[in-house]
Each structure stands twice: as C-alpha cells, then as structure tokens.
Amino acid sequence: MMKNIILGLAMAATSLAVCNSNNRSIEYLKMNKDLQLKSTVNNTSLMTSSVADAKITVSIKEILNDYLQMKNAFTEDNSTGAATAGKKLEAAFKKFDKSALTAAQKKTYEDVEADAVEHAEHIGANGGKIEHQREHFELLSKDIYDLVKAFGGGQVLYKDFDPMYNNGKGAFWLSETKEIKNPYMGKAMLTSGSIKEEIK
C-alpha cells in the first residue's frame, strides 16, 4: 500500500517535471522565435533606411554636380555655361526623390528647394547678364551649403570665402578642390579668398 503511494507520488512528480520542462522548452522556443522575429524586423528596417540613404545620396550628388559645374563656369566668367548649369540644377531639384525622406527631412528639403529652384531658374534665364547671375549664385550657395549640412555631400567639399564681394560684406561658395578659384570675381581676381571650412 505504502509502496503504491510512493510510486504514485514519484510518478506524479516526474510527470510534473516533464510537463514543466516541456512548458519551459516551449517558452524557450517561443522566446527564440520572438528574438528571431525581432532581429528580422530590425534587419529589414536597417535595409530600407540604407536604401533610402543611398537614394538621398544619389539625388544630392546630382544637385551638387550641377552646382559645381555652375561654380566652375562662373570662375571662367562663362555666363552661358552658368545658365546651362542653372537649367540642369533646376531639373535636378525637381526630380529629387522625396519618398526616401522622413517627415522632418522633407521639411528641411522643401524649405531649401523652394528658394534654390528660384535662384537656379533666374541663373538659367539670364545668360549674358553675369553680374545678375552672380547675385543669385550667392544666395544659392547658402542653400546648397545648408542642404549638404543636412544630408551630407558624399564627397569632401570646401566652404570658401571672398571678403570683398557684395560691397565688402563678403560671400561664400562651395568648392570640390582645395585650390581657390573665385566664382564671384572670375578671371579678374581668380585666386582671392580663403578656405573657411572643410566639409566631409
């Protein structure tokens, strides 16, 4: 009788233990699955954000290329060249893929875009009036600088400063080379100015 009770208790205990361990292993499996799930979610969000970043970099790169082409035309006093780059730049701004931007980034971008497109348009439409184009180029340079600061330029850039333009108020521009070539003065004073900042 006593044996039976002990056996019974032992059996119950083992079955409990088995049950328990079963439960635990199920829980463990569940946890594992959760973790796996979480990590796959993390992976996909990482992937989409890097795809988005890549898209932004491509768009910014195109804007920068057109801006730098325009800057180089101005250093050579080439008004029609600047106008051509202006039209290209306007198009580059308009085709920027905004779907890759977060809400906050979109706001920053659209603020710059509204202003920059207008300057690009004016520079594009005023081939032959280089001084008028340069006035717009000064403000455009500020827009492009803010854009690069917000989204990165994907290349090393230099912020150069000419202290004399604008009745001694000075103006800056962005350059891809360390060597100073002044787009406001052109050939008249090509090398005047200095590097104020290196943007990486």
């Binding site: 603020d111 509204a114 202003d115 207008e118 300057h119 001084e131 008028h132 827009d143």
Partner: protein
Amino acid sequence: MNIVKKILLVSAIIFIAIQFIQPAHNKSDQLLASDISQIVTTSDSVRALLKNTCYDCHSNNTIYPWYSNIQPMGWLMAKHIKNGKEALNFSEFGSYSSRRQLSKLNGIANSIRDDIMPLRSYKLMHKNSQFSASQMELLINWAQQSKDSLSAK
C-alpha cells in the same frame, strides 16, 4: 461688299465681342497680417514708394488705369499682375519662409539697382514711376536693413 469691308466688319465684331470677356480684378483693401509692413519696419516714404511703383503688380491691390477696361489691354495687364505676384507679393510677404524672405529682399535691392524693376513697359505707361537716384538709394538701403534685421532674428 468687297473683301476689305468684310475684313473690317469681322474685326469690328471680334473687337466688340472680346470686350465682354473681362478678367477678374486684383482688388483688396484688407491689410493682411502677412503684409510687408507688418514684418519689417517700413517708413512712410518707403511705403509710399512701394505703393506707387510696385504694388500694381506685386500686391493684392492694383490701381487700374482707364484703358484696363479695354480688351486686350486688360488681359495683358492681368497676365503681368499674375506673373508679378508669383515672383513677389508684398501683401503676402509673411507667408514666405524666412529663407525666402531674405532672398526676396535681396532680389528687391538688386533689381532696383540693376534697373530691372520697374519694367520698362510699366514706366512707359506710368509717369513718375522712374525712381530718382535718392529714391533708389532709399529703397536699396531699406531692403538691406530689413534683410539684416530679419537675419539677426
């Protein structure tokens, strides 16, 4: 009826017909909170100059000359006003982002200095709209100061 008479008759009919197509007038007496005078300091003389010389195309309130009621003159003016307001509207200056406000003030100073504005056709039709040297200086300084005060904010 010979051909010359026919042509004259047809043109007369067309001319009369187009008189019935009047463009909507750009008129508003309301001073909006976004008006330039509410955003930056404007002296009486600056305001008077802007009103007299710029507001016909760059505000929500045009003072129409008599010939604006004759077509196609009225249409031509409506187009000028539409383009002018798109480029710069003093009545809605406050609705621009601060970045654009600075750009616009810069553009105002430059286009006056370079004699791009007022347009030649406008000066032809509006005597007294040619700025004197001192008026030019007044407006350019005003734009410059307004720019400085806005960028200091």
